[in-house]
Symmetry: C2
Subunit: 435 residues, 2 copies
């Protein structure tokens, strides 16, 4: 028997605010950060790695919450954990005292994501498979068992979930073979951060086109004049056939969103992302109705599966941008994928930040192989930041994520990264505080 002997959590922060990487109308100066979890076992060669993503201050709060959330794992047998990933998830989330602090939202849910991401990484390592393969090797029944379907039975029962998965089970291998050739299509946000100059924007759009991207996303919402000028530049560079997406990062009220997006309609954006509060299901539905044919996309702050259920029920979104470190890991994400399939909404996961690209590539691959069976309207975010800190970084070629091959969920950071960017005592921050 291999036993879990500890669940550690680390506060890792990168000084991205210095270069305005990641700047948008809501988040002007984020330091991309991870509340990074390591599940240690008594086998020195076996650990599980996971994290949630934040943008700086408060990352320590997620670390504290993750330590508490992970405590029940200590002393459990690895074999018991990896053979009952639904049971472990339900056990961790059953703490009613911690539940009060959400429920299933905010810091506690981010912490749950960090811990369960590490559990899934551990399971994939034990299986000797990349996470996407672990998932695509599970039967439809096994997948339905690990999915968190609670509070969802008005739109999706377990039987329906199994039936949805059964449809594609016989042909999974074909799609794995296909993706092994082509990779999973992605788009880049690296070009369009709000803090970048027009010259930098033009150059980065040009580079994106040359790198094979067919979609480019720009941040909007701080100034309408600036938005018009920047969108004109981008459309000029990428041409009429490529897709241009815009992202307001929640800065508008509903009426203002409608007005502003209509004023940008001439640039034919594929979608407007996060036009308003991420909690406003009915608001997104109203915006969608008013700005059609421009699509509405949201989800990176979508707090849990109950929110997504309603986004689907209310026909509020054209693109579902679930977040791999905000939803409570694969268990909850599976439920969202299944609902998205039922309602016919493509899932285009949020990524970027630190490590999110490493995670979402597994999810998108799994989705195509086992759930949606379609690439239509689907494109996964990619941002070219901070991959060098990961032992198994994502690989993007010709605008597509290549299939990860190494065991795990690609979540492990280098020890040197921890030594340098741990906050506040890592080398970088100790120096920054000194000077």
């Amino acid at each position: 028997m291999t036993a879990i002997i500890g669940v550690d959590a680390f506060d890792v922060r990168f000084p991205t605010s210095l270069s305005l990487d990641g700047s948008d109308a809501m988040n002007k100066d984020g330091d991309y950060s991870a509340a990074y979890v390591v599940i240690r076992t008594d086998d020195p060669d076996l650990s599980g790695f996971g994290f949630t993503f934040t943008i700086g201050r408060g990352n320590d709060i997620c670390v504290l919450a993750a330590k508490q959330r992970g405590l029940p794992l200590v002393g459990m047998a690895v074999e018991d954990v990896v053979t009952d990933l639904g049971g472990v998830y339900r056990h961790l989330k059953s703490d009613s005292q911690l539940r009060w602090l959400g429920p299933e939202k905010g810091v506690e849910h981010l912490a749950m994501a960090a811990v369960m991401n590490a559990v899934w990484d551990l399971a994939a390592r034990v299986a000797g498979k990349p996470l996407w393969r672990l998932l695509t090797d599970m039967t439809s029944e096994e997948l339905a068992d690990v999915a968190d379907l609670s509070y969802l039975s008005d739109v999706l029962t377990r039987d329906e979930a199994v039936a949805l998965l059964k449809e594609l089970e016989p042909t999974r291998a074909d799609r794995v073979a296909e993706l092994a050739e082509t990779g999973y299509p992605c788009y880049t946000t690296s070009a369009g951060w709000l803090g970048y100059s027009d010259e930098k924007l033009r150059r980065l759009c040009q580079e994106a086109v040359e790198a094979g991207y067919k979609h480019v996303k720009l941040k909007v919402g701080a100034s309408l004049d600036d938005d018009i000028r920047r969108l004109r530049i981008a459309r000029e560079v990428i041409g009429a056939d490529a897709s241009l997406m815009i992202d307001a990062n929640q800065v508008w009220d509903v009426p203002q969103a409608i007005e502003w997006v209509r004023a940008l309609a001439e640039f034919e954006p594929l979608w407007i992302e996060e036009p308003t509060s991420p909690d406003d299901i009915l608001g997104h539905a109203a915006i969608r109705k008013a700005v059609t044919p421009i699509g509405v996309a949201t989800g990176e702050h979508g707090m849990n599966r109950v929110l997504f259920k309603q986004m689907f029920q209310a026909e509020a979104i054209d693109f579902c941008q679930l977040d791999s470190a905000r939803l409570a890991s694969v268990n909850e994400i599976l439920a969202v994928y299944l609902m998205a399939k039922k309602f016919g909404v493509p899932v285009c996961p949020h990524a970027g930040g630190v490590g999110l690209c490493e995670l979402v590539q597994h999810l998108s691959i799994f989705d195509y192989v086992a759930v949606s069976g379609s690439l239509e309207g689907r494109v996964t975010e990619y941002v070219d930041h901070l991959h060098e800190h990961f032992v198994d970084p994502c690989v993007v070629k010709n605008g597509a994520y290549m299939l990860p091959a190494r065991p795990g969920y690609s979540a492990q950071m280098y020890d040197a990264t921890l030594a340098t960017f741990s906050f506040p005592d890592g080398d970088y921050w100790a120096r920054a505080t000194d000077s």
Copy 2:
């Protein structure tokens, strides 16, 4: 000038799990707790006290978050703070890095509530008035200025808010005089905790009737047979004319809620409280439609004003049970009261826990005097626990909250309480850990 010289936060926990006070179908063993905030000034006789409420584990996480959230207050002049309560609120909530951890939900929002509750307490103390009086002495314009109307303009503009408030401004004094006589009506949950025996339930219902209560609430949702037996006892004791409310604390999915509530319809409950996930706006709307004429009530876990906006838009609830320590204090609560007025939904605040009764009495009084002008369908929760720890405890007579008279928000705890119940080093917990 008086300056704020520190914002402290304390982890205070009461061992309520020992007596099963507060037990329900979701929360079997809560230790009622407060993340308790003290704003210190350089005037030794002037501090502000506030808190958020939790049920035990994780209270330390809220304490940490409250300390961080309160930091920008340090060094500010008290005069500047209390004369710009809208500006202070917006300043505290403008931290985009902390916003990422919600936004406006979960631990970070609970912490915002704790800090801003203390700010409002401070403001009322400076004014030498109980909070309800501070609010009812503000003009309609001043109230609209402090209300957080962001993300709400699709249902309520500032002009509409002012107009709603103006209606009742001339007659506020009449209603203050009326409440000074009668108090604000409340109901008791103390009778119906799930962990109590039938005998204790019968006795407590009898005592509630004798104490003048016209409403009694029971917890349901663990076992239908038990619920039927307990509701029969309660209805027998309180009679056909008194109101019986039932509370499921979120244990059901939507279809199950409908089935279960219909099975209890013979006892004619006034409302079913928290039938499902607090996030499920459309689910509550579906349940409401299916169980009419039984009302649907929810809100104690209602995370923010955007959720309540949608509850009103979707006609999902008959009773709005906002929580004084989960919403971000008076600023956000004001917005919910104003929307409730517009949509004609009575607000019956959640209370109980520790200190929530002390807070909500001020809010209910303010609502009647300045916003709703009506007591119809309105009754505020009251639970007879832990009031002895407060310097200015609420006073309930004949089933009604008497008007608080002392300056502040009634949120201050005794020093002896902190010394005894601070976790883990207070006398009680140090002893409990030793033995």
